[in-house]
């Protein structure tokens, strides 16, 4: 069996304050309360504020989460923070709407002529300009008000109040092809394509060398006859020029990226494929999800970015890329129970005992890394801290650390949450650039990725799910 490694990673954000009103929560609450809508629109961040926000720089891989400054992060000056940084970039909304048009093969997005031209000019200067079909942008020019007034269309704004176009539905009788759904799907496609483009560009990877792409984003594309039919992965492969690749989507709520990584490693290890990419785009429904708590606490609307990520899995050979320890994979069995302790026992403790590694043998535990500055104002607490306390408590129970060492264990092997609340992005995937850097440089020997997904949200089971895997420094 071939040893699989992660040879490259990328991480991108798209700052989309204008799209935030189309998040699931704002989309329901704002239309019935004009005063609330005005407060929401008045609390949107500028692009400069989004770039300066320290958790965003951590997400891009510039700052390790353990080196983030003391909170509040929202007022950080962001000295030296840049758009192009670390393992990717933070793209402004003007360009992202243009990118959505450039990857739109069905005239779903209509942008006004002035915006299409401005976005085209900006994207032509982008390092990935040659990888996207910018001619589609030139064809996108319409009258924004007319487009927004079309039956079933969803208006698109740049920031708070500049109407720049509309998203169209694709079938008047098919809810799976309504404008709102297609907006979600196209934004996921564009952000995943941006992440994959950066992966190829920054690591000089030949697009034709990739055999297969696994999609791990949250949206399930399809039509009324097959709502979750898929396959966004292949759509993303196509726009990124992966002419020899096929692909498939992996669905498992927020946990999907880690099972996708394990599947990618397994496909390489078994010799089925030589190079497999895992990609994930961002989630429009989760924009502004906790905005009410932010407004109550005089904070800006902090869920105004879409996350994207990509990684390449291939056979070991360069002597430095971190290994995917397939023998460490742990799954949350049906019979394991649903308490957080049971889940952590199954995903964290069991595989480490099985391998004889021990809980102190892991340098970094990457679990649900939601940014607490986003979750606490809405009453959801500090999710990563709760998970790290549980992991540390189990280390005490196992006799690996003393009770008084819990805080030190959490500080040293855990980290503050830094990911936007785009579920799958926060569920360990956000740590990949850091894990790759630290395992490649030798700063860390082992990183455990731990992902959880809330299956019960789909109302077909009361279960949740999860998977973990160890990444290890190359021999």
């Amino acid at each position: 069996m071939t040893d699989p490694v992660i040879s490259a990673t990328s991480a991108v954000l798209a700052h989309v304050p204008g799209l935030a009103r189309h998040g699931s929560k704002p989309g329901r609450e704002l239309p019935r309360d004009p005063e609330l809508e005005q407060r929401f629109l008045g609390a949107l961040r500028t692009f400069e504020q989004a770039v300066a926000y320290p958790p965003h720089q951590a997400y891009l891989g510039v700052t390790h989460p353990r080196e983030l400054p003391e909170r509040p992060w929202v007022s950080a000056a962001g000295d030296g923070a840049e758009r192009f940084a670390g393992a990717g970039e933070l793209m402004p909304e003007e360009e992202f709407l243009g990118l959505m048009a450039a990857v739109d093969e069905f005239d779903l997005i209509a942008l006004d002529a002035a915006h299409a031209e401005a976005a085209g000019v900006a994207l032509a200067r982008h390092p990935l300009a040659e990888r996207f079909d910018l001619e589609r942008l030139a064809e996108a020019g319409v009258d924004a008000e007319e487009a927004a007034a079309e039956s079933g269309a969803l208006p698109l704004y740049l920031g708070a109040d500049r109407l720049v176009g509309a998203m169209r539905g694709a079938h008047e009788a098919d809810e799976a092809l309504a404008a709102r759904v297609l907006l979600e799907n196209l934004a996921t496609k564009a952000s995943a394509a941006l992440a994959l483009g950066r992966l190829l560009e920054d690591h000089q990877i030949d697009p034709q060398s990739i055999d297969y792409v696994l999609g791990a984003g949250e949206e399930a594309i399809g039509d009324r006859y097959q709502r979750g039919g898929g396959n966004l992965a292949k759509a993303v492969a196509a726009v990124a020029g992966l002419t020899e690749a096929s692909g498939a989507d992996v669905k498992n709520f927020c946990a999907a990226p880690i099972p996708a990584l394990v599947m990618a490693g397994s496909l390489v290890a078994s010799g089925v494929f030589e190079r497999v990419a895992v990609v994930a785009g961002g989630s429009v429904p989760k924009l502004g999800m906790k905005f009410e708590g932010h407004l109550k606490n005089d904070l800006p609307v902090l869920e105004d970015v879409l996350g994207g990520a990509a990684m390449l899995v291939e056979a070991a050979g360069d002597g430095r890329s971190p290994r995917i320890r397939l023998d460490s994979v742990a799954r949350h069995r049906v019979a394991a129970g649903s308490s957080n302790q049971r889940i952590i026992e199954a995903l964290v403790v069991e595989p480490l005992e099985r391998l004889g590694v021990g809980m102190l043998g892991v340098d970094d535990y990457a679990t649900e890394l939601h940014n607490p500055e986003i979750t606490e104002p809405q009453g959801s607490g500090d999710v990563p801290k709760r998970n790290y306390k549980t992991i540390a408590a189990l280390a005490v129970r196992n006799g690996e650390i003393a009770r008084e060492d819990i805080d030190e264990f959490v500080r040293r092997r855990g980290m503050p949450g830094f990911a936007p609340t785009q579920g799958h992005i926060a569920s360990a995937l956000c740590y990949l650039p850091h894990a790759h850097a630290r395992l490649t440089s030798g700063e860390a020997r082992r990183v455990q990725l731990i992902a959880k997904g809330s299956l019960f949200l789909g109302r077909m089971s009361e279960l949740s799910d999860g998977m973990s895997v160890l990444l290890e420094q190359s021999d």
Binding site: S338, S339, N340, G381, V383, R386, K452, S454, F456, L457
Partner: protein, 41 residues
């Protein structure tokens, strides 16, 4: 301490799950009329 009381138990995936709350409430004499485990992220 919950005798004669009806309880709605809302658990959380990353905290205390609904079934665990139900066990506690029932052992304290309460009547759980609804329980659920939700995800708040």
């Amino acid at each position: 301490m919950f005798e004669g009381k009806q309880v709605v138990a809302l658990g959380e995936r990353d905290g205390i799950a609904g079934p665990a709350i139900v066990k506690c409430i029932e052992s304290a004499g309460g009547d759980v009329v609804f329980s659920s485990t939700e995800c708040f992220v």
